[in-house]
């Protein structure tokens, strides 16, 4: 929860700075957001690469285990299709790109910002942060009333790091491996899926 507060306060700090000082010259000089995207995506790849746990995960291989993250992704895609039908102000591909962010707010929002502009980029950032917050706050309830797998599905790409503690606490330690594997697979899939839909 602490990291969510830090994240929201940095975003709010940026908004406040812009409201107080005219930053348009700084922000429009060069391609700031493009370079931010490149730096962010390279660093994100680097952090996945240095993590040794990924190769170890494939030891307890089973078909349900392997397909789990793909079912999670498919569920979010279907959810986004439903939203596109009730909220036609954005196109189906817009909603699909936002909905397949899987809680990976930084990467998905910067990709969407680059391709579709400020408005959809802001929606992507907020919606992926909200997904993480929903997971953190609702984990005990969805474990009790739905399934111990629910918070892993809900966490999406975040189930390997920021929402892993609530999975371990409320679903149980026996689901930690699945949670890490699913989060990692989705982290790899997010940039691919989001770019595909844009």
């Amino acid at each position: 929860m602490r990291s969510i507060i830090i994240i929201l306060s940095f975003f709010a700090l940026g908004v406040t700075t812009a409201l107080l000082v005219d930053l348009s010259l700084v922000l429009n000089s060069g391609n700031l957001s493009t370079w931010m995207l490149y730096l962010l995506i390279f660093t994100a790849g680097l952090s996945i690469g240095v993590d040794d746990s990924f190769s170890k995960l494939f030891r307890n291989i089973s078909i349900p285990f392997i397909i789990f993250p793909f079912i999670v992704l498919l569920g979010s895609i279907l959810g986004s299709v439903v939203v596109s039908m009730i909220m036609p102000q954005y196109s189906l591909s817009d909603w699909l790109a936002v909905g397949s962010g899987m809680g990976y707010y930084s990467l998905s929002s910067v990709l969407i910002l680059e391709a579709r502009g400020q408005e959809l980029g802001t929606i992507a950032l907020l919606s992926n942060l909200i997904r993480e917050i929903i997971t953190l706050l609702c984990a005990p309830f969805i474990v009790k009333y739905i399934s111990p797998l629910a918070p892993i599905a809900s966490g999406g790409a975040t189930s390997m790091d920021t929402t892993l503690p609530v999975v371990v606490q409320f679903s149980g330690k026996e689901y930690a491996m699945l949670s890490i594997y699913s989060g990692m697979m989705l982290t790899l899939l997010v940039p691919i899926m989001v770019s595909l839909f844009l």
């Binding site: 908004v15 930053l23 922000l27 690469g49 240095v50 986004s80 909603w95 400020q118 739905i146």
Partner: protein
């Protein structure tokens, strides 16, 4: 968007290399954290400089909440339908 995927894969490859050569990697997660913080500030500053965003912040927040809830619910429901918890436990 090809540049993005290439940079992502290049990052993973460099990361694997660092790890294989047993070089120090503790700084990577710290670097990522600071990059994300700067990025969030820039994103906030861009949103704050955009009058259309500021005037419609409530509407954007509502859209964000709806898509977040729908995507999350979709994932939970599909997993509930297709996957059984017993086959997904691990002992280590």
């Amino acid at each position: 968007m090809w540049v993005v995927l290439i940079l992502f894969i290049a990052g993973i490859a460099v990361g694997r290399l660092l790890s294989t050569l047993k070089l120090k990697t503790g700084w990577v997660d710290r670097l990522l954290f600071y990059v994300v913080l700067i990025f969030l500030w820039v994103l906030g500053a861009q949103a704050g400089s955009d009058e259309a965003i500021i005037n419609n912040f409530g509407t954007l927040g509502l859209s964000a909440s709806i898509i977040a809830i729908a995507a999350t619910a979709g994932s939970i429901i599909l997993v509930r339908i297709f996957l059984h918890r017993k086959s997904l436990k691990s002992n280590h």
